[in-house]
């Protein structure tokens, strides 16, 4: 892959796209994991398909369309889950499918053929244009800035929203800000793994990071690192074996996750066996 990296511009773009994606998914995915927002994230990412369709239909960049739809659906789902009398999962489920249906309709109405449609659905890291890299870089910077500024507030919103409100943190507004960060992340990830697989990249790196730390900051750094390993490793595998990059990244990440989990289990058992002969040692904290 190294020669290819030096030789082909698209390989360098792919590498940058993967690294930029891992920054967004590592940071925001950590909040998704600890606040248990996987379903709403899935809703936002799928609903953004409506914007991709709109982009094709009115002839603007599908990524811009996705950005608008992701932000709107984030706000809509936030409002629905907070204000409406609907059960939260029903509200999310409805917007999820309405967004997708709009996307299908717009593409149907668009004359001709939408050539790189499948790259939005399933991702194609090798097809990322330079303009999307710039978008991803800007969104990453926005995400990092917001999280640095509001780190302690997001901690309150995630850990104990009610107590946060009681001490004067504007938790309602911050919840919406967090949903908007998820929307931005969706846009950064869409070209890399595609709408359908975005939830995987939001959830797997933090789930893996959680096995190694109980510090939220370290969890974010580790998630970014694991995300980078997933995307770069997946990119390499998909290049070597000429298979779909989005799916390869996810499957490679899933395999690594299982391996680390199994290794930790075995390690724990080995520690227990070593201790078994010793008199009554209190359980260590790991």
């Amino acid at each position: 892959m190294l020669e290819a990296l030096l030789e082909y511009e698209y390989m360098r773009y792919a590498l940058f796209a993967g690294l930029l994606a891992s920054v967004a998914c590592g940071i925001v995915g950590t909040y998704v994991a600890v606040k248990k927002m996987t379903f709403i994230s899935g809703g936002i990412s799928h609903a953004s398909f409506g914007g991709i369709g709109l982009g094709f239909y009115i002839g603007i960049s599908p990524v811009l369309g996705a950005l608008i739809f992701a932000l709107l659906s984030a706000l809509g789902m936030g409002l629905a889950t907070r204000m409406a009398k609907l059960p939260e999962d029903a509200a999310i489920g409805m917007m999820w499918v309405v967004g997708m249906a709009l996307g299908i309709l717009f593409i149907d109405l668009t004359p001709g053929y939408a050539p790189d449609l499948s790259s939005y659905l399933f991702g194609n890291i090798l097809l990322v244009p330079f303009s999307d890299l710039v978008t991803a870089l800007i969104l990453d910077v926005v995400i990092i800035l917001v999280v640095v500024l509001l780190y302690k507030e997001f901690l309150a919103v995630s850990f104990d929203e009610e107590f946060g409100t009681a001490v004067g943190v504007p938790t309602g507004v911050l919840y919406f800000v967090l949903l908007c960060l998820i929307a931005l992340t969706v846009v950064v990830l869409v070209r890399v793994v595609g709408i359908i697989l975005i939830i995987a990249l939001l959830t797997m790196p933090p789930a893996m990071a959680r096995q190694f730390t109980f510090d939220l900051r370290k969890m974010m750094f580790l998630s970014v690192l694991f995300g980078a390993v997933f995307t770069v490793g997946g990119l390499w595998l998909s290049y070597e074996y000429d298979v779909a990059s989005g799916a390869t990244i996810i499957l490679f990440g899933g395999a690594l996750f299982l391996v680390t989990m199994g290794a930790r289990k075995l390690l724990a058992r080995w520690h227990r066996m070593r201790r078994a002969g010793l008199p009554d040692v209190p359980a260590s904290s790991t």
Binding site: K152, F163, T165, A166, V167, S285
Partner: protein, 252 residues
């Protein structure tokens, strides 16, 4: 400046749809009160606390905290929610949890300053948990978690401590320790404690009120069997307090 009244509720009603949860609640908590509120589960105890904190707006009636609306006055309240409600696996240390009690004073966008750290350290020392400040909160025992949540409330330098079911899932030996801690704290602030557990309203509480939609408030901790039965809708075990604390079981 010392306010003689920290919380005042006048004719407060809370309804969801057509179901009343709280009816015509009048309550006054003075700056040195130690009030225990008992009542059955679903009797509105947690709702009452949330009304005081401004988390639930009453359908009718007036709430004031330190003579201000609860949204403004609640910075003087240290809230201790039920400790078994949070996610045990959450990646957060004891220290970070306690600092959360300072958020209202640190302010948005800002990092914690030296004052915040000193107050958080004092609060942890007060509950005897300073040496466990770097542990993950979920790794502590139930009693230790509860003490950390009390420290979090204390870190905000409250005038009133509000405790929701503090003795739930804490074993009896730890409960004694817990009441000794409250005994020390009550010299410095008002305390309101709600519980469904009659035995939790121990010798340390100065006043008792019973809550089951309506509040039966007496201003002293001798409650007659009629009141308890009106609250619980069934005969209950009586507790009497004398020179020696003891329990009297009413025949039923």
């Amino acid at each position: 400046m010392v306010y003689d009244e920290v919380v005042r509720l006048e004719d407060v009603w809370v309804q969801t749809g057509r179901t009343p949860i709280l009816e015509a609640i009048d309550l006054s908590v003075k700056g040195n009160d130690f009030l225990g509120i008992i009542g059955p589960n679903g009797g509105g105890k947690t709702t009452l606390l949330k009304v005081v904190l401004g988390l639930i707006a009453p359908t009718r009636g007036k709430v004031s905290v330190m003579r201000e609306p609860p949204e403004k006055g609640r910075k003087h309240i240290g809230y201790v929610p039920q400790h078994n409600l949070f996610d045990r696996d959450f990646p957060i240390s004891v220290w970070e949890v306690v600092l959360m009690g300072r958020y209202g004073r640190t302010g948005l966008f800002k990092r914690h300053g030296d004052v915040d750290k000193v107050k958080a350290g004092d609060a942890l020392a007060m509950v005897g948990m300073l040496e466990k400040r770097d542990r993950q909160i979920g790794k502590l025992s139930g009693g230790e978690q509860q003490r950390v949540l009390i420290a979090r409330a204390l870190a905000g330098e409250p005038r009133l401590l509000l405790l929701d079911e503090p003795t739930a899932s804490v074993d009896p030996a730890v409960q004694t320790q817990f009441y000794e801690l409250l005994e020390r704290l009550k010299k410095r602030m008002a305390i309101v404690l709600v519980s469904h557990d009659l035995s939790a309203i121990s010798i340390y509480v100065d006043k008792v009120a019973c809550l089951n939609r309506q509040l039966y408030y007496h201003g002293s901790k001798e409650i007659g069997p009629e009141v308890l039965e009106a609250t619980y809708k069934c005969p209950v075990q009586m507790i009497a307090h004398g020179a020696v604390p003891h329990r009297v079981l009413k025949e039923h």
